[in-house]
């Protein structure tokens, strides 16, 4: 229910800012938004998790799915996350090794 999605563009990246709680109730909206971006030709995507209060395994799965999708288009998916509680979920699942993770959108779009 409580999920906020906001898309902007920045230096050739589509930046998807996510806010609220990502769980099995809200993840479908996130998944659809990411699929729409890719289908619209955005293959370089930054997902900004800075305002996410909760992230579960379904949310991780959606992000993995999106990464897979942009890669089939030779694209890129970068994550922005500085909240320890959210970072921890990536860390303990080992997914920090799978995703390119940054502390800010600036850093994400600058890295290349």
């Amino acid at each position: 229910m409580d999920l906020r999605l906001d898309v902007t563009e920045r230096d050739g990246w589509a930046v998807l800012a996510v806010g609220g709680e990502i769980d099995v109730a809200t993840a479908p909206r996130l998944r659809e938004q990411l699929i729409t971006l890719v289908n619209d030709g955005h293959h370089r995507i930054v997902v900004d998790l800075g305002s996410v209060d909760f992230l579960d395994s379904t949310g991780l799965g959606v992000l993995v799915g999106a990464l897979k999708r942009v890669r089939t288009h030779d694209g890129d998916l970068a994550l922005v996350c500085d909240e320890p509680r959210i970072l921890k979920v990536f860390e303990i699942t080992g997914l920090t090794k799978v995703f390119a993770m940054y502390g800010s959108v600036d850093q994400a779009v600058a890295a290349d």
Binding site: D23, D56, V62, G94
Partner: protein, 153 residues
């Protein structure tokens, strides 16, 4: 607060936020549980509830099993025990497919299967018990922060 708080919820994803809210509030009264440990508990319980709900949900457009799922929180001897019960028919825990390590490129084919590993890592112990018509997941949380976590391999 000690003793037991029990919550019965419809088996639908939109109750997950409420389940997290309740376990968080029950444990918030325990001085030994800090913010991070409460977050661990909220996530583990949420994963267990997600599995309970999915086990009961209709797969083929039918309404699924309408019976409620149960979340039972017990505070005792300074630790928290949470039990999540469903009527989802149970599952063979030993038969869970082992995914390739997340760092393996082929790991990208798997968008699921991180729920039970997360429960294992976040709780101090977990038991999956078969019931007459489903599963009881019993998780125990100690108040100390997690030791340095090992990533899933």
């Amino acid at each position: 607060m000690d003793e037991v708080v029990e919550l019965e919820l419809p088996a639908r994803p939109d109750v997950l936020a409420l389940a997290r809210l309740v376990v968080g509030a029950v444990v918030a009264g325990e001085p030994l549980f800090d913010e991070e440990r409460i977050d661990d508990l909220r996530l583990a319980v949420s994963e267990a509830c997600t599995n309970a709900i999915e086990a009961q949900q209709g797969r083929n457009g039918d309404d699924g099993d309408q019976r409620p799922i149960l979340v039972r929180c017990r505070l005792a001897s300074g630790r928290v025990e949470v039990e999540v019960r469903d009527h989802g028919g149970g599952f063979d825990q030993a038969g869970l497919s082992l995914h390739p390590p997340v760092t393996d490129p082929s790991r990208l084919h798997y968008e699921r299967g991180l729920g039970i590993p997360l429960i294992r890592m976040l709780s101090d112990s977990v038991e999956f018990r078969r019931t007459a018509d489903g599963t009881a997941v019993i998780m125990i949380f100690e108040p100390r922060p997690l030791p340095d976590p090992k990533p899933i391999t």
